[in-house]
């Protein structure tokens, strides 16, 4: 980081706070931003009055307890193989986690291709892909579902907990936390959805939305641009990550998502049911839906006792305000998902806060 640039940025942020006469609260929606902000010590560089809130941007964290319990339930069967991205296996369900089950039928995959390959290799089992993630991750799931249908890989299905970022931002501002002054928008989700996707948030709620990548100077520049808008009473979409993000996003990826998924009003941890915030398979692909195939009835499961993840995800509570933080809840023994995922706010605070 360049010292002069940082100093200049600090000056501009401080000027905005002074002009406004109150602190500015900026939410970074993306878990990867949360980690980058801590890793590079960005919080310590911000002038007084600039407050960063970690938002609901960690896919594992926002997956509701009922879905996690359903995945664990499926893993207990003898006729399934659960394929999942790495972070998911440690999330505590109401009764144990995938990891604790010690079941040979739980496999960590690096891509949906690997999950589909498992299905081809084990025709006697049903491979269930735990499909979590935001728009960055969803297109690859769509590709796999289409390939499974095209090639007749009938022993493949998905449990979709894919989420959409913009409806979550709207829900936050619509009541869960209207104290958020602006959003630092996720870099790689925006590669897919495009910066124009945030216009409804910027315009309807009059909140600046600035897309940034993950380099420290870029995050700082993103915050400066937000402050600039707030100072002058503006609220529009801006981007400091034009190297990767186009206004209209990735049309191929968006087309695939639209062909395979429909938005529905699904539950999020901490935020409740978000209108149009979750994706499920379209009718023509419903035979690849694990919920249908295994007749899963997700029960409303309660959160782990004492865990404040829900409030943390809304930016209402800082992890250290949770009574279990660092005591009974640590990355080695997580109580809630915000401590499990490396991108969870609790885990990031635990790992970097002392530095």
């Amino acid at each position: 980081m360049n010292f002069d640039q940082v100093k200049n940025a600090q000056g501009r942020m401080a000027a905005a706070v002074e002009k406004l006469g109150r602190p500015i609260q900026i939410m970074e929606v993306c878990g990867t931003h949360t980690v980058a902000i801590f890793r590079h010590g960005i919080r310590s560089l911000l002038p007084e009055g600039i407050k960063l809130l970690s938002g609901p941007g960690c896919p594992v964290c926002v997956t509701d307890q009922g879905t996690i319990d359903a995945i664990i339930e499926l893993a207990r069967r003898n006729d399934t193989i659960i394929a999942t991205y790495g972070d998911m296996i440690r999330v505590p369900g109401t009764e144990g986690s995938l990891e604790r089950l010690h079941r040979a039928n739980v496999r960590v995959v690096l891509s949906t291709d690997d999950a589909l390959a498992l299905a081809r290799k084990h025709p006697d089992k049903t491979v269930v892909f735990a499909a979590v993630g935001f728009e960055t991750t969803t297109p690859a799931t769509a590709v796999a579902v289409q390939a499974a249908r095209r090639e007749g890989v009938d022993n493949f299905c998905i449990l979709s907990a894919h989420k959409l970022v913009v409806p979550a931002m709207q829900t936050l501002l619509g009541g869960r936390n209207d104290k958020i002054d602006a959003f630092l928008c996720p870099g790689h989700v925006s590669v897919i959805i495009g910066s124009a996707a945030y216009r409804p948030v910027a315009e309807a709620f009059h909140r600046p939305c600035v897309v940034a990548g993950f380099e420290p100077m870029q995050i700082i520049e993103g915050i400066v641009r937000i402050c600039g808008q707030i100072e002058t009473g503006q609220a529009h979409v801006d981007s400091v990550y034009q190297a990767a993000v186009h206004e209209q996003g990735n049309p191929v990826a968006l087309g695939l998502m639209e062909a395979v998924f429909d938005p529905w009003d699904g539950p999020w941890r901490g935020l409740g049911v978000i209108p149009g915030g979750t994706l499920r398979l379209k009718k023509e692909y419903e035979s690849f839906d694990a919920v249908r195939r295994f007749e899963i009835h997700t029960k409303k499961a309660s959160e782990p006792a004492g865990c404040l993840c829900g409030q943390v995800l809304c930016g209402l509570t800082e992890p250290t305000q949770c009574g279990l933080f660092g005591k009974t809840c640590t990355p080695d023994h997580p109580v809630g998902p915000c401590m499990v995922s490396t991108e969870g706010a609790c885990s990031a605070w635990y790992k970097y806060k002392s530095e």
Binding site: P59, G133, T137, H188, V191, V252, T330, S341
Partner: protein
Amino acid sequence: MCLAIPARIVEIEGDSAVADAMGTRWKIRTTLTPEAGLGDIVLIHAGYAITKVDEEEARKTWELFEEIARIEEQEKQAGGQEGPA
């Protein structure tokens, strides 16, 4: 989870490709970026290229990763003190 890594396409046939980032190579798909060809640099997320990026952008990210890896290595050697004070 939403982090994508820049890598150069060093082999490609249809939508299956091999990508190289800082000497590490792995198989990827270019299904979502049909415009990407041999020698192009793409951002890769969960095995899929999601967009093309230019040389300069990729180099900045690679340098950043190198720096992070170096710092983490130093921390490990310093006794791996982690956790809240």
